[in-house]
Symmetry: C3
Subunit: 352 residues, 3 copies
Amino acid sequence: MNTVVYTLGELAEQLGATLRGDAAQPVSGLATLQDAGPQQLSFLANAQYRKFLENSRAGAVLLTPKDAEDYSGNALLIDNPYLAYARVSHLFETRPKAASGIHPSAIIDPSAQVDPSASIGAQVVIEADAWIGADVVIGAHSFIGARSCVGAGGRLASRVTLCHDVRIGERVVIQPGAVIGGEGFGFANEKGSWEKIAQLGGVRIGDDVEIGANTTIDRGALSDTIIGNGVKLDNQIMIAHNVQIGENTAVAGCAGISGSTKIGRNCMLAGGVGLVGHIEICDNVFITGMTMVTRSITEPGSYSSGTAMQPAAEWRKSAARIRHLDDMARRLQQVEKRLASVTPRGDAASDA
Amino acid sequence: MNTVVYTLGELAEQLGATLRGDAAQPVSGLATLQDAGPQQLSFLANAQYRKFLENSRAGAVLLTPKDAEDYSGNALLIDNPYLAYARVSHLFETRPKAASGIHPSAIIDPSAQVDPSASIGAQVVIEADAWIGADVVIGAHSFIGARSCVGAGGRLASRVTLCHDVRIGERVVIQPGAVIGGEGFGFANEKGSWEKIAQLGGVRIGDDVEIGANTTIDRGALSDTIIGNGVKLDNQIMIAHNVQIGENTAVAGCAGISGSTKIGRNCMLAGGVGLVGHIEICDNVFITGMTMVTRSITEPGSYSSGTAMQPAAEWRKSAARIRHLDDMARRLQQVEKRLASVTPRGDAASDA
Amino acid sequence: MNTVVYTLGELAEQLGATLRGDAAQPVSGLATLQDAGPQQLSFLANAQYRKFLENSRAGAVLLTPKDAEDYSGNALLIDNPYLAYARVSHLFETRPKAASGIHPSAIIDPSAQVDPSASIGAQVVIEADAWIGADVVIGAHSFIGARSCVGAGGRLASRVTLCHDVRIGERVVIQPGAVIGGEGFGFANEKGSWEKIAQLGGVRIGDDVEIGANTTIDRGALSDTIIGNGVKLDNQIMIAHNVQIGENTAVAGCAGISGSTKIGRNCMLAGGVGLVGHIEICDNVFITGMTMVTRSITEPGSYSSGTAMQPAAEWRKSAARIRHLDDMARRLQQVEKRLASVTPRGDAASDA
């Protein structure tokens, strides 16, 4: 389905890599070292895969100059082979090109503005006063609410929902099923029952953001929920009202961020992480998978919670002991005191 | 986009609040104490924000009589400022009013009954024998399955899916992407492979329920899955077949409730909580974030599991020690016994 | 709404069960022992429900020959009553039969091939070169991307999204909101910002797979993401790029599986389980709810992580102690050493 072919020389030039070997070598795709065939380009970016280099059938390999010393085949030498792989990958994109123009089944409010260069898919609904920028692609079944904007170069897959007053920056990619601007979970309790609080804010998404499948980003209660430039959000992430996420922070799948929490720049949240509301995470924080974050973090670094996996029978014993850990700690203190009273090296003078 | 303006006097009257200051003060919106401008109403509901009261530029503030003692600006005095904020918030709703009637692109089975006062959005599909009550709003791309009902005053956002035999009470709000009535996870194992069990029950949702974006509520296996009146469900919650949730219980985002579990009234489940199947939670239980609930709860109160976050390097040590906690506990017992044999205050008479 | 009636004799014959009692007894539905009425068939598959057998009003009960000894009513005797229930359940399915043919509002690319026996629902979009097999049912608002295939007998509920190059085997059931083939979370970091990696692989789903509501399965980065025959996936599961899941493995709701992880056959992952990327789980592994799996598993068996739920006040003490567990362990070692120096049974000769 993809018949584009480059020569290795052409790729070297595009990447600014040093060519070693046959400049005329045809390259029709990318593959891992294990899977690559003689017309495919591969890469070595992780030392644990070095063992596959020697016997790879790849037509050429992206390598650091140092790794290339051990390899005699065609190679493109470059400082960051993984970044080079990222860049070259787009040459072999398999996603079909969107049809230009507006599909006749799309329903677009007369007051909405759609740039003539945009592509609007089948059965898209665009409501009043929405604005769609240049070269934007909106997939089938997507919904753009009133007064929402999608900046130039954006790409919404099929079935993306933007509610009203959602502002999306430039070159933003949104996967299917994402919901931006749903109403946040705001209720006041009165004698046991819950009174809904209207969610009056919107959502502002910066440039170069990526939003994964079925991720939800709620609109703000009063002011906007804000996602900074370059933020990358994986699938099934839940971002509550008035969260703020700083530039270039990446969040992996199934993470949940509670209301009004503010996350700094260049952070990484691994999968399944949960953050309570109304806290602040400073820049350059890494949170490991499934960690529960219940307080602000003011120092860059890595943070974790949870317990390590064990065979279930052993785990049951550990879990039972944890429930009595406070008692254990008190008994240990007691033992230390008593021991001090019978040995010369004790630091507790009295056992009273 | 919202140009409605009230006078402070009008708001005082609507809320039953005591006006202090200028009754003619115009109010065109709501904002936090920090953000509010001179035409905005703010509120103080949380002591940690009291520090922003003095210098707030708000045109007026919702305050308890006691908090108002420290404030000289325009104020609306009321016992529960947060509840008053909830009520007044709807006056400034920014959500566009739904067009009345049935959008021409909607596809409605002739046997379905749609109240003339209902609003049916673009490309909605309504199947046979469905019933849509008075003043219901159904957003674009929503799907109402056969024999499903939406009670009066309901509001389904765009892209909501109700499968067949889903009964929704009155004034229910459902956010985009929610799926009500999908088939539960029911399989019988036969020699390693799984045989599907038809999911014959439906879903019954009470009045005044709110259901968040991309939340899923499965239909029952035999009888119905039941969500009580006044229940509030946040985004991305997973409710399995035959779960029952009691009145006015609130569940925060990303919680998962396994099959046939029954939750009482006025409970609160924080984000990411998980419950195993076939257990019962009594009324008035609060479960903290990301807690794993593996047994029934019969006493009201707060419950938790998990560990506190640490810097990752310290966490690794804790996690390693937990795996050997049973051994530690046994060694502590041993130490206590031996210590008893060498000190006069021991309570273990023999060290045998 | 469902008026089908069988005689007990007919059901005995269909199931290969031994009839005890009235062969003419009419059966018009299924119910639990507690709920069943005189025209309903029930079953006893779990010893904890045996207490309901004696007073059940069920017209007949599926029982093992042994359990039937205590019961005098009509019964169908069979070795595996739960499996028999699974099989008979489909006779009473309440799901409306899909209309045959292609709904006039569906938008199907001329190059797509749709079997004449397939049912294509309202407002379905099928893109270029897609292929829909015999007897496939595709619900309203579903989207089938370019070159994607749905094998014979497949049933996609309403609003299912298959992106391009997704191959679905035979008899696969997909619930609403599922997204198959979204772009995986692949980025290379360059000086703090993230460069997107094109996701060039597809997704391959085997035969007899079930995929739950709002579950997401990402396409592969280079090669395909692969779900084996007979795999059952519950709702809101997140499967990242290049994951492989072996035959007949079942995964419960809200589980998350990170990129390139490989899971064996006949495994069971309970709800909320999370797996890091690039690990391997062998066949016949059971992972309990909300466990965090951070390493490969090479031995069949049950595995767990996390802590047991406690009342929150006690939990806070346990959690605080866990943070100092490494210190406690060191102190216990010290106590043991010192105790050895003052008692004759010490195994540490020196306290230096």
